[in-house]
Subunit: 188 residues, 2 copies
């Protein structure tokens, strides 16, 4: 961040009075610009026992597989965001179920939230950000080609829970970078 | 938002190609500035059956009671944020427990996340953002003077669950504004 969104003057990095962290502060108008983690929301859609995955058409991690997920928008709930992303990325109309996982992606300043979901009708197709969309049996999931650690964690917990007949939620934190260009920058 | 954080030129509100919502786009360098919901994280600290509440020293809702909560910072987990806020607002060292509630505060573009928490030792005092900090028996909670709908929802679910001996999590959405100056703007 170089310039103030309010007045356009240069910002400087300093700790405001009474604060405990350095912030971008406008040298002209004094506005403090906070930067906070962003929410990425998705789901694991299931149809007749199989899981819907999308192969990414965009960076980061183009060509790798993931569940439908993306940045939450203002004015929607987490569940609405998860359903919207499923439609945008896979043209899939899902019913959002229970909370599945919350992954703190520390280095990317993101919190990823995933839900279980039902795909009642097997209708889907690649949206503009997907190369392919496909239903996978559990033993066919391409584990070596999963796009993000948060997706890998979430899919594994999903399958374990399903096998055990339960629906808890899981927390984890990841701080490692995955291979590939700018893989931690976004998951839009 | 008036100016680009990257180059300082004026931004305009338009829907980028391939997008579905209007964004602030820089007329000079083309940077798209996304605005996403921010996470506010807190907890309900309990000591010997009583609940720790803080009376706010700052706007919005100065003088009203709330549980310790505030904006999540980059690089921390939700649980770390909840513990940090308890220390900042109440000088209370808490142990964060299970997920209690997720409240979509739609009009404020915020998602509030609350945890159950244990205050092992009854040591606390007002931090710079609190006028008073006090332990309340359930029947003494000042329901008429609770700062935010998300706090009210969270405290009620906490007490119901405790009475029933269970620890589920709860979702809700609020879109109403509460009385008082700019009550929906922030909860830092």
């Amino acid at each position: 961040m170089n310039f103030c969104t309010h007045c356009g003057a240069r910002v400087e990095l300093r700790t405001p009075t009474g604060d405990h962290l350095p912030r971008h502060v406008c040298a002209a108008c004094g506005t403090v610009h906070y930067q906070n983690p962003r929410l990425v929301v998705g789901c694991v859609p299931e149809h007749a026992g199989r899981i819907l995955l999308c192969r990414r058409a965009i960076e980061p991690r183009r060509g790798f597989w993931t569940v439908p997920a993306g940045f939450m928008e203002n004015g929607e709930t987490l569940q609405q965001a998860a359903a919207r992303e499923s439609y945008e990325e896979a043209l899939a109309r899902v019913e959002i179920g229970s909370l599945l996982s919350i992954v703190h992606v520390l280095h990317a300043h993101q919190v990823h939230v995933f839900f279980r979901a039902l795909l009642p009708v097997a209708e889907f197709a690649p949206g503009p950000e997907s190369l392919e969309v496909e239903l996978f049996d559990a033993h066919d999931i391409p584990w070596g080609d999963i796009a993000f650690p948060s997706t890998d964690f979430t899919l594994r917990r999903y399958l374990e829970d399903r096998a055990a007949g339960r629906e808890p939620h899981h927390f984890t934190a990841v701080s490692r970078r995955v291979t590939g260009p700018a893989a931690d920058e976004a998951q839009a």
